[in-house]
Symmetry: none
Amino acid sequence: MKPITLKDIAEILGISVTTVSKALKDYPDVSKKTKRLVRETAETLNYKPNAFAVNLRTSESKTIGIIIPEVVHHFFSSVLKGIVAQAEKKGYLVIILQSNESYELEKKQIDLLLNKRVDGILMSLANGTIHFDHLDEILISETPLVLFDKIAKVVQCSKVIINDRKAAYNATKHLIESGCKKIAHFRGPLLPQNSIDRFLGYKSALLEHGMNYDPSLVYILNDMSFEEGVHFSKELLKDHKDVDGVFINTDLVAIGAISEFNKQGIAIPNDIKIVGFSNWFMSSVITPTLSTIDQPGYEMGKVAFKLLYKEIKQKKKKIPVTFKTVELPTNLVIRESSIAEKIN
Amino acid sequence: MKPITLKDIAEILGISVTTVSKALKDYPDVSKKTKRLVRETAETLNYKPNAFAVNLRTSESKTIGIIIPEVVHHFFSSVLKGIVAQAEKKGYLVIILQSNESYELEKKQIDLLLNKRVDGILMSLANGTIHFDHLDEILISETPLVLFDKIAKVVQCSKVIINDRKAAYNATKHLIESGCKKIAHFRGPLLPQNSIDRFLGYKSALLEHGMNYDPSLVYILNDMSFEEGVHFSKELLKDHKDVDGVFINTDLVAIGAISEFNKQGIAIPNDIKIVGFSNWFMSSVITPTLSTIDQPGYEMGKVAFKLLYKEIKQKKKKIPVTFKTVELPTNLVIRESSIAEKIN
């Protein structure tokens, strides 16, 4: 079959060859709509001389992609807010994709974003992600990538994280100092680094304070929902009648636990003390208010975008990029659910 | 020279782009006279449906786009869950875009999605959207479009809605029947249809029950945040010491109100009764639990995707699409915040 020429595209669309070539080179004096028509026709007819490809690689789409495990998660929600706020300041459109904690979907979504020629990608990895070859694809395509929250240490890119282990250590230490003798832990799934680190923080806090570590006090959650908080609180009370403290992987689950303890007439903090993780705004609204680790989601989104933006600009100017890892501070917020004496 | 578009023909004849497109496709719901006019004009202007559009109609990207005002909104979150769940079953990738209630951004995002050749678009309109020409763009490109929740009646496409007016009427009626004599309303911004309809439902419930309507009892909110719930509750208590009921546009705001009333030692429901809107899961967790209108967000997302999917398939088979409007039922969920006698 004879190769498609600019002339073919021009004829199909009823516009001049010059306009077609200008559209493909992203000239400002061609309307968005015409550019769209030309590009799509070119793609449909499979027209791609090198010049075209080269141009597309150097032209900015002013679009970035975000892949997160769950959009509807209150922590990722605040991260999104932070990213979108920054992105708009710089005039970027933000494409949001939800991996549902699935490695397979994550792979497809990376292909999608690379096909759509986004200028950069922000990602928090799915729990199901153990191989990172799909991330290499991003790096090979020379698309800037920044990982946040759920990261993989081995991947060569910039990262925004918190010190999950230290934060969990402080949360557990606080429960011990509030007088808890038997402290349970509702942890996240086995794989993701942050749920491993939080578990290790819990464990080392116990051991360093001369308490013994009992694996039967550690409950492994799956989707970390409100419902799981209710369910595992029931389990905990069945298995360990004398439990007097629990450190919970995330506030949503902790709020499920609080509602179940309230329902069963178990006094918080007198009978059992609770510390959550993330400082979701609802933690200060429920009864009793929930002690938690303040995890700076909005800030994390802001910083992640700023790192990405810098790399996009550096790439454009052909300045070699040096990867950064930014660790954001967390802090323990003490509320009614964990104080030694109950107020109100 | 730019190619003649359906829009050009529509402008010349002073009819909608959809009508032009339908006339050319010989849809039954367009009059013979209009069809003749359109065909003649098309011939005179030498209108040629372009090749890529024909190609597009058969090439699927297996990707759909969603544009919603706010991702981080608990109602839209559940709609998203419903959409994504269905989309995955059918093997579609979902691109999510957040309009931040901005008409300008919404326009850009539609361009982006058409540019990325999505198979269909699901939208809930921004509060700032008063013109709908950007939606015509979608119809011109023959990309299936389904509007949900915040819709525009004039746009010719399928829609998924609830009866906001009826739901608000029932919420207010319930407050009256629970003995409220002076009922305030925290409403949404002036523009969007759903906040207008909820206000009208509130007003007609008052009038039909022989209560007088006092505009000073209606507070117009902007971002409908938890913080606005706190703020306007303070205002309400300052302006109307004797208020004994309030119907609030959305649960998040209602929960802000509850926390402020609790803080000020105002007994709910004894001193003031509250009904919210949307039935966010937190409504049944806070103290006191919040009466609300159950708005089937997840279901709305499911139905919206199913309608879109059907249109995508019909388009592929070149079957003319007939637009549907699906109205989902809502119901009043009575909890502690509005009962005549306070329990526990």
